[in-house]
Symmetry: C2
Subunit: 255 residues, 2 copies
């Protein structure tokens, strides 16, 4: 497949000016120039552009990007692996910021006090990470290990109290769900309470909760007989009922 500037721009979601600029600074030259002087891009350029956008997303300057991708020792496959890791890092930074904004909300509600230092925690972390991308990986290895340790700590270092709480939640969910099922209405208060209990139960296991994943799991309960069997054990249809309740709860109702 061959592309002109506009075609490629639309494909990648960038302007034609950007493509011309990338040609000008020698970061992405077209495969060839046709007889009327038009820039024509081919398959290789599509792939290079994708790489460029990955690097750009990570905040590198175009100058740095050019050095990297024009390096004869450049290994595209390894670069992709690194993109993946750095994007995951970026997500962790985002999580820090989200934690910050949530703490700030709590502090405006008077539920918590924040020091001036804490108010900028996610931002400073971000700058550290950006420096890191410029100056190497030594620090990352340190932070990477920490992240893993934290993730493990969540489940491995569960206190007996927490474990008791999980069991309690699990039992309360079963009771509530059975009662709600009698009403037949997945939007009812009882059913919504069941969905909420299910979420709270889940959050003991997941470090990253999202409504989508929650809704996905609920659907899984219905689609996979291994889980349907459990929920439907006492009352057939319970798995589907729970799914509907959760879909309403998470706002992912059917069209």
């Amino acid at each position: 497949m061959e592309y002109t500037v506009q075609k490629l721009g639309q494909l990648a979601g960038i302007s034609t000016r950007t493509l011309r600029y990338y040609d000008e600074i020698g970061i992405l030259k077209p495969a060839r120039i046709n007889s009327s002087g038009y820039r024509i891009y081919g398959q290789a350029e599509v792939n290079t552009l994708q790489q460029i956008l990955f690097y750009r997303e990570l905040g590198l300057s175009l100058e740095s990007i050019r050095e990297i991708i024009t390096d004869p020792g450049f290994d595209g496959t390894r670069a992709l692996q690194e993109h993946r890791e750095q994007l995951l890092d970026k997500r962790k930074q985002l999580d820090l910021l989200i934690a910050n904004v949530e703490k700030t909300i709590a502090s405006t509600e008077g539920r918590l006090h924040m020091s001036d230092q804490e108010k900028f925690e996610g931002f400073k972390q971000k700058m550290i990470e950006e420096n890191e991308q410029k100056y190497g990986k030594e620090i990352r290895e340190k932070y990477g290990d920490d992240a893993v340790n934290k993730s493990n700590a969540k489940v491995q270092n569960m206190t007996p109290e927490q474990h008791a709480e999980i069991t309690r939640l699990s039992e309360e969910l079963a009771d509530t769900l059975a009662q709600a099922f009698q009403t037949g209405d997945p939007a009812s208060d009882l059913a919504q309470k069941a969905a909420d209990l299910h979420k709270r139960w889940l959050m003991f296991y997941w470090t990253d909760y999202s409504p989508e994943a929650h809704a996905g799991l609920a659907q899984m309960y219905v689609d996979d007989e291994r889980f349907t069997a459990h929920y439907d054990a006492k009352q057939p249809g319970t798995a589907a009922f729970l799914r509907d309740a959760i879909h309403i709860y998470t706002g992912k109702t059917k069209a």
Copy 2:
């Protein structure tokens, strides 16, 4: 607490030049100027700066930020709520990009074909979101519904082929896991293959995959008797074995 330019800069992780520039364009004026002409910032300015950095993080221009925070109707508490939502949106975009890079890796390994369009999926989504932040919420409501539709479509609109694939994956997982269990080594190739099959199976249900959530789910299989029962049905200890394999697979090994 009172701050000079450098003190505040260090606190927030920005340069003194930036603070002077923010004063110049009227986005963050110091609380007062002391007798020698020094800028002195107080508590209110610390909080405003935090807000500014949140907006900046979301990609708004300083001009837009000024309009927002100097608006007499500006509600700091509501702004925080919106920050939270938009940061969560941003995380979803990141997840798209991560999915993209993972797909790209798979395609270089020949495990998958990617259309040129797919190669830019996460990027384009990002541009849409950025436009949205500039031009208001009407579009969001449209796209928000789309996102929900997409999420639903993922499971609701599964083709028969996909459903067959799920069943196949599920069976292959059961077989592989049983074989791997014989080796006794969760790090073995077979066990790791089982973990990978499990991931692929999961990805049919989850719109947001993360190693953490995967590891969490694995732990859940062990901690919750409802799921342990299923996996241990043929061979007791299988659930724990699968958890260990997944923890190694996701890189969340024990300390």
